[in-house]
């Protein structure tokens, strides 16, 4: 599995916020893509229910994986493809390696795929002496720079053209340029050689179709088509939830996916791949393998509260509107998935304790739910994670360690909340206590730990001497209030 750095959320978030280039890039990106996506959503002939329709399609698929996956697999087998069901990351990687070894693969070209990042495919191949080239331009830039993606769809948004220019000058030996067309052309030329000489292509799968027995891939650059057409062997990895029941389901989902991912009406290339080349074909791979990956998904599926997250189509629209992501960037999330979807998926995949900052470090503002093309209730899922972390039952698979002190404070607070007299009494203490805090013009300027975070850049008003409710009671007693 790829390295998990979710625990470093706070530190990495601070680093992200301290990087002025990243701040500018994130803000510019969000402001450009998010409103354009929202506008696209409004233009479908199906009207405002279009995202609910998409939700129904995805939920139906998730709830019928028991019949859809075999159907998909059989369709591919019938065309001479091979299908491997991988229980976990190790099994998926091992299968990929076995195919590569059997075919004597030395060089792999790869299209962007989240699940291969999740299972750590590149590292395993490289350890086995097989060169893996990421061919999506953004991913290619990051691979040359030795970095990881910071966005699901636009992996290199944190890189400026100047940085790319210097990188290409150094690694590709071209004269320095900061002109995006020139830089793109340089990558095009370098990668074309790779496409033509690679022995194996690796791709993900966007939304497979069970009815027809095809996987699909989506890209704008054409790199995935190259990777899946030119090499002798094509191996595709898909999370087991990435399938729909019927062909017609794609009519809606591909439109929404294109809107959501890049504010496009339609993505540049969508390919249906159902097997290796037929004998009448002059192109296409001799071998086609589909690896269907569980790696923790069946546990999510088994949980009625979390099942909904499997509807996700990995479009990144939730990242594009998230105010927290917009501040800290994708690296802070410490795993393949970032933003709101990452806060949920990562926690469910790597464990609640390791990823607790991801689902607590969000404000529940709800922007993600509105942006999601399949209307996943991400705030509900974040709340459920918090609940399971704080109060999970002992037999819960998705249980967190909780925090004893916090739980105690909450319990006490709960007692106050239902005993108005105690509540009032506690407040008296607080009103007295606040006099000892440093203040300026009647406003508290420094709070003690653990509340000191608040006053790091903000004041706090003092508690009013008397509660509104007390004042009201007094007025009523004097016979002035109400009528």
């Amino acid at each position: 599995m790829s390295a998990i750095r979710t625990e470093a959320y706070c530190q990495a978030a601070r680093e992200g916020m301290a990087d002025p280039v990243l701040q500018k890039a994130l803000s510019g990106f969000q402001h450009r893509v998010a409103p354009a996506t929202a506008q696209r959503y409004r233009r479908h002939p199906e009207g405002p229910q279009v995202r609910q329709m998409a939700h129904a399609i995805r939920m139906h698929a998730v709830e019928h994986l028991d019949t859809l996956l075999p159907r998909l697999a059989d369709g591919i087998l019938a065309r001479g493809g091979q299908v491997y069901f991988a229980a976990d990351a190790q099994a998926a990687v091992a299968y990929g390696l076995a195919v590569a070894r059997r075919r004597g693969v030395r060089q792999v070209v790869k299209g962007k795929s989240m699940v291969t990042e999740e299972i750590g495919l590149n590292e395993a191949f490289q350890d086995a002496g097989i060169a893996v080239v990421e061919t999506d331009l953004g991913e290619y830039i990051l691979q040359l720079a030795g970095e990881t993606p910071s966005h699901i769809i636009a992996p290199a948004i944190h890189k400026t053209r100047k940085e790319v220019g210097r990188l290409f000058a150094e690694k590709l030996g071209i004269p320095y340029s900061e002109d995006p067309p020139t830089l793109t052309q340089a990558a095009r030329a370098a990668l074309r050689t790779q496409f033509l000489s690679a022995d194996m292509g690796v791709s993900g799968c966007n939304l497979a179709c069970a009815e027809t027995g095809h996987i699909t891939t989506v890209s704008n650059e054409g790199n995935i088509r190259m990777s899946t057409t030119l090499p002798k062997v094509h191996i595709a990895f898909m999370g087991m939830e990435r399938v729909v029941a019927r062909l017609a389901d794609h009519a809606l989902l591909f439109r929404l996916l294109s809107n959501a991912a890049a504010a496009q009406k339609m993505a540049g290339y969508i390919s249906y791949i159902g097997g290796p080349r037929a004998d009448f074909q002059a192109d296409g791979p001799e071998e086609f393998h589909l690896v269907i990956v569980d790696n923790g998904r069946s546990r999510i599926l088994a949980d009625p509260e979390f099942r909904e997250i499997l509807c996700c189509i990995r479009c990144a629209a939730c990242l594009n509107v998230c105010p927290v992501y917009g501040k800290i960037g994708g690296h802070a999330y410490g795993y393949a998935y970032s933003g709101p979807v990452g806060a949920v998926v990562t926690a469910l995949l790597v464990g609640l304790d390791r990823a607790k900052h991801l689902f607590f470090g969000e404000t529940l503002c709800g922007a993600c739910k509105e942006a999601c093309p399949v209307e996943i209730d991400l705030p509900r899922l974040l709340l459920a994670l918090r609940h399971r972390w704080a109060e999970g039952r002992a037999d819960d698979l998705f249980r967190g360690g909780g925090d004893r002190l916090e739980a105690l404070v909450m319990r006490l607070w709960g007692e106050l909340a239902r005993r108005p007299n105690l509540y009032q009494g506690a407040r008296h203490l607080a009103v007295a206590g606040q006099q000892m805090l440093p203040a300026e013009e009647g406003r508290i300027t420094r709070l003690p730990p653990p509340l000191h975070g608040w006053t790091q850049a903000r004041d706090l008003p003092r508690l009013a001497r008397r509660r509104f409710v007390q004042r009201w009671a007094a007025e009523q007693a004097r016979g002035e209030g109400g009528r």
């Binding site: 002939p45 199906e46 229910q49 609910q52 329709m53 939700h55 129904a56 939920m59 994986l65 996956l69 075999p70 069901f85 061919t135 999506d136 331009l137 953004g138 636009a154 948004i157 400026t160 067309p181 830089l183 793109t184 052309q185 095009r188 990668l191 496409f195 704008n220 650059e221 054409g222 088509r225 190259m226 057409t229 087991m240 017609a248 794609h250 009519a251 809606l252 439109r255 009406k265 993505a267 969508i270 390919s271 249906y272 791949i273 159902g274 080349r277 037929a278 004998d279 009448f280 074909q281 002059a282 192109d283 296409g284 269907i292 069946s298 546990r299 088994a302 209307e375 996943i376 459920a384």
Partner: protein
Amino acid sequence: MTANREAFMARVRTALSAPTSHGRGAIAYAELAPLAVAKRSDAPLELLAENAAALNIQLQLAADPAAAAALIRRIAVETEAEWAQQKALVRWDDALLNELDLETALADTGLPLYRAPLAAPVDTVARDRFHRQLRSAVIGITSADYCVADTATLVLRNRPGQPGAVSLVPSVHVAVVRESQVLVDFVSLYAELAQERRRDREALTGRMTFISGPSKTGDIELVIVHGAHGPRALHLIVLRDPSA
């Protein structure tokens, strides 16, 4: 490997034995079909023109096959070579393109025009030859099964003489469709595909590709650049129906 599959599917079945308690939306899957509304358009060609322009597709109309061939000849002459010294063209071997008689139209230019192998099965020799031609070609010429006006999408399927790579590997892609193949939107496209599948379950073939515009990327500071990996330009020629 079957044991693997069995164990995997058993886990899925067990997982699904608990009903969904959250996340069922307002609409049920069974209610969807009537909600899928196709756009209507009296002038699909105008709709296509608008969307093609937005995607940087060079759209041209041709009154007859000869006019289409003449357009392609012009494109061939004006396009600059990218990967090889000599400009070459490669085309699908299918009925529509054969009608254009490009061999004659291009004869005076002296540019080589290769044809994708038609005879099945394609042997290693034919395949290697085709791959060499493909690499050296600057223009790939294909037809298409459909063209969707609302998204300016071409639908290509792999059949004998129609390898998808012709629309991908050369620097420039030229596609020719008949006006009657233009559909309004994605909903109508999928309805057509469903129709076809009712007649032939393998109608989609093992490889179907939708192409909406030339290859593009925005990965460097969101600046859109054409020709990331696939064709840097896409010319679409619509052959008018004889009645028009």
